[in-house]
């Protein structure tokens, strides 16, 4: 069964450093998403991406965040200058063309900013 994969599973970084979280969505999916879950809080939408551009972004997704689909398979989230409050689980998701609301999630990357 096809699945979304994410690397790394855990990333530790120092405040102010740049991190890149990587995702490989399901191969025939066209819509890609990033969500995050801070410990003890809800899963929150960050950004959606379609046709090589951002479709929607939340107020959390400020100028320090960017997304890219550098090739035909990878989808990345870059955080330019990490802050302590960026520590969270980051989930990548993808959905197909017909039921775009049915999003399939990866296992997540745990980002710890020290």
């Amino acid at each position: 069964e096809p699945e979304v994969t994410q690397t790394p599973s855990h990333q530790v970084t120092q405040m102010g450093q740049e991190v890149i979280l990587r995702c490989v969505p399901i191969s025939n999916h066209l819509y890609f998403y990033w969500y995050r879950q801070i410990l003890g809080q809800k899963v929150e939408f960050l950004v959606s991406f379609y046709n090589n551009e951002i479709s929607e972004k939340s107020e959390i997704f400020d100028d320090q965040f960017s997304v890219e689909r550098p090739d035909g398979s990878n989808f990345t989230l870059k955080i330019r200058s990490t802050k302590l409050e960026d520590s969270a689980m980051y989930f990548c998701a993808s959905s197909g063309q017909i039921r775009t609301y049915e999003q399939y999630f990866g296992p997540g990357t745990r980002l710890t900013v020290t």
């Binding site: 809800k42 899963v43 959606s48 991406f49 379609y50 479709s55 775009t100 999630f105």
Partner: protein, 115 residues
């Protein structure tokens, strides 16, 4: 932001019995609702969805009921199995222009199925 609410943080049921998980929402523009299951250290796993124009959708042991007038949905699991023990999230989607969607999640309910 409390557009999707799951008021029960936990639920315990006996194996073989019915589990009923509840969810309320406030945004009448939501047009699809979904349930996800999540195990520790894993991502949410899609279980079942329902359109706002329907009141019931069934898939095996899982049935989702939607009461649009009450802005309430529920997930029924029958019969419950120990492997169903996980956190269950309710999520809702609203259509915007363009076709990508964002999901708004509830806070989750920890289901424990006792053998």
């Amino acid at each position: 932001d409390q557009q999707v609410k799951q008021n029960s943080p936990s639920l315990s049921v006996q194996e073989g019995r019915i589990s009923i998980l509840n969810c309320d929402y406030t945004n009448s523009m939501f047009d699809y609702f979904l349930w996800y299951k999540k195990y520790p250290a894993e991502g949410p796993t899609f279980l079942i969805s329902i359109s706002s124009i329907k009141d019931k959708n069934e898939d095996g042991r899982f049935t989702v009921f939607l009461n649009k007038s009450a802005k309430h949905l529920s997930l029924h699991i029958v019969p419950s199995q120990p492997g169903d023990s996980a956190v269950y999230f309710c999520a809702a989607s609203e259509y915007f222009s363009g076709s990508a969607r964002q999901l708004t999640f509830g806070s989750g309910t920890q289901l424990t199925v006792l053998p």
